[in-house]
């Protein structure tokens, strides 16, 4: 296996490196949390990194019309190809370095995908990539809960009842997207026991985000991070609330912040406080009704969400992670 870089955990916001790998001048929405995720991701990884980005907002809005905000080498890949792109990039580096065709050095390989390209179309390729213990790579799935780049269509990660152009709120049917959001990161963790690092992340917790990226890139082998990204366009809210919504989704318990490192689960931040009983979960309504995509929700809809969140925290083996409880004998 090729070696990893020395990217220590950052102690405190003041020690976050100033260098940028993703600069201004991209055609993203005002308040785009996915853009922030890109920026923090490469800030943590540093300049000796190759980034491969699959089709989606973070392709089309970033490298729009023959320009780029990327300071590090960056390549486009297909919608469902984050997993295969990461594998191919890592394989080339590994092979060429071993055979003496390239100077040996640890180079970070990061492939990113949106929820549509990752959890739907590209799930098989990601799964295959996570079986290659011999390659150091990180697959980052940035989840804005829709196919956002094509003007907001429902994906397998879109919440129940959310308004999208494939699940519009109509006179006859209000909640057309009846699918409950799939639990991608835990699915991958459980399904690939050799993977040493799987985590959920949230750009609103900037320091935590940076450190998760670094842990993923230095632990060795293939790794996966799933970030939740509030999206002013698809979720319909004043862009200045992006940061706040990124916190609310965690404070309500709807999103759980955690890391699975070598088979051990740790909850982070407010999720940890909630699990320890130190902090009460905010009502899920506080989060849902701040967004135009849920403006049609009735009290029944909200109750459905609240019940699901309650169940996750009160009944599941691991809240937000393993949706299974032990049957009583």
């Amino acid at each position: 296996m090729t070696s990893v870089q020395d990217l220590p955990q950052i102690q405190g916001v003041k020690n976050i490196p100033l260098a940028e790998g993703y600069t201004s001048g991209h055609r993203t929405c005002q308040g785009c949390e996915s853009a922030l995720v890109m920026r923090l991701m490469i800030k943590a990884a540093g300049q000796r990194t190759i980034v491969v980005g699959s089709t989606g907002c973070m392709y089309v809005a970033n490298t729009t019309y023959y320009s780029t905000p990327w300071v590090v080498p960056w390549m486009h890949t297909q919608l469902g190809s984050a997993g295969s792109a990461a594998t191919g990039t890592a394989a080339a580096l590994s092979s060429m370095m071993r055979k003496g065709k390239m100077t040996k050095e640890p180079i970070n390989v990061i492939a990113f995908c949106g929820d549509g390209g990752g959890a739907d179309m590209g799930l098989a390729a990601i799964s295959a990539a996570l079986q290659h213990d011999e390659y150091n790579l990180l697959i980052l799935m940035y989840d804005n809960e829709s196919y956002a780049n094509t003007d907001i269509q429902a994906s397998g990660s879109t919440p129940y009842g959310a308004n999208t152009t494939f699940s519009p709120v109509g006179k006859e049917i209000r909640n057309m997207n009846k699918r409950w959001k799939k639990n991608t990161a835990p699915m991958l963790a459980v399904g690939h026991p050799n993977v040493r690092y799987v985590a959920s992340a949230d750009g609103s917790y900037g320091l935590d985000f940076n450190n998760k990226i670094r842990r993923a890139l230095t632990i060795g082998g293939p790794t996966f991070i799933h970030s939740i990204d509030p999206c002013p366009k698809g979720w319909d809210y004043d862009p200045k609330f992006s940061h706040e919504l990124g916190m609310l989704v965690v404070e309500t318990g709807l999103w759980v912040q955690y890391e699975i490192i070598d088979g051990e689960l740790t909850l982070n931040g407010p999720s940890r406080a909630i699990a320890r009983g130190v902090r009460k979960r905010k009502p899920v309504e506080d989060y849902l009704l701040r967004q135009g995509r849920f403006a049609h929700f009735t009290p029944e809809d909200i109750k459905l969400f609240q019940d699901k969140v309650d169940e996750s925290w009160e009944k599941w083996w691991l809240p937000g992670v393993i949706p299974v409880s032990m049957k009583e004998d």
Binding site: S24, C29, C32
Partner: protein, 383 residues
């Protein structure tokens, strides 16, 4: 009648439904008089992004053959009326990379009209609008700028007022009665038609002479030919950046020269450097990498890049340290930190005045909560 083209220049996503209502109403109204028309969004603007300037068009002709001349194109070569539904775009718009900064009146015909939604007066607007070689009319639809989103629409009658004004300045399109009829048929209630009527009756046009307006030369780019372009779909990455203003300390990233994004702003942050506690959050949480880090550890929002999202104001823990204020009050992208360094008392006075003014004004920037728009409408002074 030859074809009449109308463009609506709007803030992407925030005003998409508004623009759509306007262009479609134009076609329906023209139909009342037996004319034929088409309404379309500019393909290159898609996918639309919150705040990035975009355009929709309505083209009306006497018959199908005449109309054909304008079809299968991305945008008309010129328009009779330009409708701008956010006055901060009078300073020019940059819709995508290599587009450059295009004047708001770029497509406006000689002796055409520019209608602007604004609470400013004509002189202030003309100051922002780039000079043209030909004359044009400026008609102000007096109201606060109307922002919505994809799913929930703020029906504050902006579209009605615009349409009323349009009937006044472009009578060759259709009569007010045709417009009123079409509006009613499209499900608009009588209060909306009444708003349109008031706008129609009260509309005034100020003549803008050739050479009047901003003398700024907006930035443009020459597109490369295939032989100059690198092979393999390759372009060079952005530079690594360096110290603040080229010095050894702090940090200033390199910025994308072919897409600056500042014309996305309808508001900009003003910073109180004296109360700043250097918590790093504005700098850290900015999706657009706007903040230059000064040698003394302060954060200067670079106005060449800031797109006005307001996240910095939201995350700043110190009251009134970062405040979003109207972009209309500014004429350039100069650095606040440098202004503060040069004359701290003057900067404090200037900044405080802007912050106070912002507190008095109300200008929403998207969905806050259910019923929020109705509250705004009730509270506003718009006719």
């Amino acid at each position: 009648m030859s074809t009449v083209a109308v463009e609506v220049i709007y803030r992407g996503i925030f005003q998409r439904t508004l623009a759509r209502n306007i262009v479609r109403s134009i076609v329906f109204a023209a139909r009342k008089e037996g004319k034929i028309g088409t309404a379309f969004g500019r393909y290159g603007d898609s996918p639309e992004r919150n705040g990035i300037p975009a355009k929709q068009f309505a083209v009306v002709a006497d018959n199908a053959e005449e109309l054909e001349e304008t079809l299968a194109r991305y945008e008309p070569t010129e328009v009779d009326v330009t409708i701008n539904v956010d006055d901060t775009m009078c300073k020019g718009i940059e819709s995508w990379a290599w587009y450059g900064l295009q004047p708001i009146n770029q497509l406006t015909k000689a002796n055409g009209t520019l209608i602007v939604t604004s609470r400013q007066d004509a002189d202030s607007l003309i100051e922002d609008i780039h000079q043209k070689d030909t004359a044009f009319g400026l008609s102000i639809s007096k109201s606060t700028v109307s922002f919505s989103g994809l799913w929930v629409y703020k029906d504050d009658h902006t579209d009605a007022r615009i349409l009323g004004t349009l009937c006044n300045v472009c009578p060759q399109l259709f009569s007010f009665d045709s417009m009123a009829q079409a509006m009613a048929e499209q499900g608009n209630d009588e209060t909306k038609v009444a708003s349109a009527r008031r706008a129609y009756d009260g509309a005034t046009t100020r003549q803008v002479e050739p050479g009047q307006g901003s003398s700024e030369v907006p930035f443009t780019f020459d597109l490369l030919g295939w032989q100059a372009m690198e092979e393999g779909l390759v372009i060079r990455a952005q530079g690594k950046g360096g110290g603040f203003r080229g010095g050894d300390e702090g940090f200033q990233p390199d910025r994308n020269e072919v897409f600056k994004k500042f014309s996305t702003r309808s508001m900009r942050p003003v910073i109180n450097f004296e109360t700043c506690i250097k918590c790093t959050l504005c700098w850290l949480q900015c999706p657009d990498t706007c903040f230059d880090v000064t040698p003394d550890g302060l954060y200067d929002a670079n106005m060449e890049s800031c797109c006005g999202c307001g996240v910095c104001e939201a995350v700043c823990p110190v009251p009134d340290c970062v405040t979003m204020v109207s972009e209309a009050d500014f004429n350039d992208n100069s650095s606040q930190y440098e202004a503060w360094q040069e004359d701290k008392p003057a900067y404090q006075t200037w900044m405080t005045a802007l912050v106070d003014k912002q507190k008095a004004e109300s200008r929403t920037h998207g969905f806050h909560h259910i019923g929020g728009y109705a509250e705004d409408i009730a509270a506003s002074e718009d006719a």
